[in-house]
Amino acid sequence: MSEEPSVLVVDDDPGIRESLSRELRAAGYDTITATDGHTGLASFRLHLPELLLTDLAMPLADGFELIAAVRRFSRTPIIVLSVRGADADKIRALDLGADDFVTKPFSVPELLARVRAQLRRSGSVTTTLRFDGLTIDLEHRRVVQGEREVKLTRTELALLELLATHAGRPVLMEQIIARVWDSAPGTTHDTVRVHMSALRRKLEPDPSNPRYIVTEPWVGYRFIAEPS
């Protein structure tokens, strides 16, 4: 095995499969390709790549089957290539255990950024998260944005912590309710939205140009700042 992180690309369209893996190689990754869910799974077991990039609609076993099968034995990050107008597919893939998605037509730099964000997920146990202009000290419950200290309630801090530890990745509404509210009965998407909008009002220096948290249509939220 080589030093570079390896990425398994599964897509039934040869044009996308080949050009995508060429771009990934150019960006410094090792690539393996497969044309459908069946060969994808076999190839995954054989090579154990650091990241899986899969299309959803494929002949034989589709992307959903592949995600479910891989998640039975592996926690390797999975990014889904979805088509526009298929929000339900996106959510189903995330529910099955995919970590992120890009929507065709995606730009290559965007995809590479998502790949980096997934590979960065190292599970480090630091108690202080640092982003561009934002420091979150989880131990002392202190949040500093620019020069000012941001006073957050317990719920808002829990929200911020959940999102910031998943920086660059989408967090589903259901995951937020489960993690921040312990799935307390009566907690709805609106509950989350109210607290999130309060958090964003306190956090964002310029509300008309959000730097940290954005809504991910029909999925939930995404923390967008790059760690520094």
Partner: protein
């Protein structure tokens, strides 16, 4: 219905009886009486009557057959019409999916390939510029196709908007991410009033609406002129405006001249239960306004 069915038969029988009597009266001696002197003439008269009845019968039967065939044809046509409609609905759906896949896949491949070209062209500024132009135009083409497919899906009932509380600032940010060229080519100011509520709209549709409007404003504006994006609350609704300093609203309503973008924006706004207006701006230029319902969020008590 019943009398209608038997009417031709009754008419035919009456006519047969009538002409037989007339034949007897005028041609069988003694003429001008209904009496018959020669017994052979009874045979002739009977044959005449028989012939007349036969013709009547044949006519009635053939008419019935024709009516029956016509009825069957209409029934068949109606049922096959319904079947055709159902098929065409399923057909539309699968056609849309196929068109979407078959147009999107090659375009995605082109965009990835362009990325490889960009890498190789980086050393030659002229080439790099050309490749960048290819990339930008492909992205624009892709967006147009996507917009048209979205409108087709909305019309076919295959896609219904999913409104959710959408912060205008998020959408403005997404517009900037979608149109880096416009934002680097000219000043674009963004303002969201502090008391502006979230809009109740499908965020992906609102993004497409605004991208089309900003692209349109960009095309209409002279170089260096700024574009303004603004969101504010007006009487419980959210007004999103794209203001430019271009030539204002064109006088004719020719879509070709006004551009597809405005029509797409209008179509998507209407599908989002919104209100679209385009007016001249004081001091020159145009204001495109999308009015949307505001999202209502119940206040939730903080759990400490």
């Amino acid at each position: 219905m019943r009398t209608g069915r038997w009417l031709p038969a009754i008419l035919g029988l009456t006519a047969s009886a009538g002409v037989t009597a007339a034949y007897n009266y005028f041609f069988i001696p003694p003429v001008h009486t209904f009496r018959i002197a020669d017994p052979r003439n009874w045979v002739a008269l009977a044959a005449f009557l028989l012939w007349s009845l036969l013709v009547t019968g044949l006519v009635v039967i053939s008419r019935r057959r024709a009516a029956e065939a016509e009825r069957r044809r209409l029934e068949g046509e109606a049922s096959s019409h319904v079947e055709l409609l159902q098929q065409s609905d399923a057909f539309k759906t699968s056609l849309l999916r196929a068109v979407s896949h078959d147009l999107t896949t090659p375009l995605t491949a082109i965009r990835i390939q362009t990325e490889a070209l960009k890498r190789h062209a980086a050393a030659t500024p002229e080439l790099a510029e050309a490749v960048q132009a290819i990339d930008d135009e492909t992205a624009r083409l892709h967006r147009r196709i996507d917009n048209l497919l979205t409108i087709a899906r909305l019309e076919a009932g295959r896609f219904r908007p999913h409104p959710e509380p959408t912060p205008p600032a998020d959408v403005f940010r997404a517009v900037r991410d979608s149109l880096p060229l416009v934002f680097s080519a000219r000043p674009v100011t963004v303002s969201v009033d502090e008391d502006c509520p979230d809009a109740w709209v499908d965020p992906s549709l609102l993004l497409e609406i605004l991208v089309n409007l900003v692209e349109n404003a960009h095309r209409a504006s002279p170089g260096g002129a700024s574009i303004e994006l603004a969101a504010r609350a007006v009487e419980g609704r959210v007004h999103l405006e794209v203001r430019d300093r271009g030539p204002g609203i064109p006088a004719d309503s020719d879509v070709a001249r006004r551009g597809l973008g405005l029509e797409i924006a209008r179509g998507l706004t209407v599908a989002s239960d919104g209100w679209f207006t385009l007016e001249n701006r004081s001091g020159g230029g145009a204001v495109a306004r999308v009015e949307l319902p505001a999202a209502v969020l119940e206040a939730v008590e903080e759990r400490e």
